[in-house]
Symmetry: C2
Subunit: 176 residues, 2 copies
């Protein structure tokens, strides 16, 4: 099961490293810009379709890129100063009120999406959906048991049939 | 099989993106510094033990970090301007001759290593070795069929019993 390995991969190779630093990055951002975020958690988006666009604006015009948090640099597996960064989004609700939060798609979903596109080893759109659910369940379980990550994230599962609603993403981000 | 998904992950999420740009980055580096590399290929290190150190110098003093290639920035899954970079190493051979090449460990090996450390779901050191071999075989097969990656990489499998030899890594890098 591909998704099982991808959930461990995003946890051990990314979330376990960056989530403990997130609060510090958000404080640094506030000190440098005087801007306060509505939430210091990383909002991790998991569309059931695995369709993770490059930019969130492509999916919902009420979600606008604002700025990036300061970079985190780590020496990793021979790459000197590998850069880890997150993007802040401004989200406008139905009453024109603005919210600021840190959000991104779960990157391994792109791997699942492309595996079903490239006709790899009979990996169908149905298999892909099953793998997204397995990824979500496995990652939920891993993160709940993780002291490093506790209270520092939100996993947001995005339903397929809601995807046609133009402001579904912004509503889900604000709710969370 | 965790390794199967990790091989697709490093290909679809990294090598397919960066290898086509590598020759351009190396040329840019040469124009900016007048330094020529002995090879423009990405040397991807795969230790059978999955023990991927943060810095190559830790393993062999004849391998020294030199500089990084110019950054590549891409908008990916909601992260604006995500940075991809590679490190250039200076390698000294037995006759004090210097070689320059781009090298790094295959980062997903760290996931395999940590999974066996954290006592995850009965993932033993033996399982880990099997998974490294599966990763190597799967990635070899994927890259050989990839037009984007052809001739732009070297996969270097590093044997366990050789790891005690202090200049094994530099010898393998120069050979390749
Ligand atoms: N949003 C986000 N920002 C990041 O900086 C980042 N870095 C990793 N990840 C995701 O975490 C997991 C573990 O990463 P790992 O480094 O072990 O494998 C990585 C690694 O082997 C390689 N890779 C990706 N980006 C880089 C990079 N910048 N430098 C070296 N290797 C890289 O290709 C694999 C897959 O990458 P992604 O498919 O982008 O998702 C990864 C992965 O799901 C990230 N996710």
């Amino acid at each position: 099961d591909v998704a099982h390995g991808l959930a461990w991969s995003i946890y051990l190779g990314y979330l376990k490293l960056v989530l403990p630093e997130l609060e510090g990055q958000v404080k640094k951002h506030c000190n440098e810009t005087r801007e306060v975020l509505n939430s210091a958690r990383l909002h991790i988006l998991l569309p059931l379709s695995a369709a993770a666009t490059a930019r969130l604006e492509e999916v919902d015009r009420n979600v606008q890129y604002h700025k990036n948090l300061p970079d985190l640099q780590l020496d990793r597996a021979g790459v000197r100063g590998r850069v880890y960064k997150h993007s802040i989004y401004k989200i406008t609700d139905q009453n024109q009120k603005d919210y600021y939060c840190v959000a991104e798609y779960a990157t391994p979903l792109l791997t699942l999406y492309q595996m079903s596109q490239d006709g790899i080893a009979g990996f169908s759109a149905w298999d892909r959906r099953q793998q997204v659910l397995l990824f979500y369940n496995t990652l939920t379980h891993i993160l709940e048991s993780s002291l490093e990550c506790r209270n520092r994230y939100r996993l947001i599962l995005l339903e397929d049939d809601q995807a046609a609603e133009p402001h579904y993403l912004s509503q889900e981000l604000i709710k969370n």
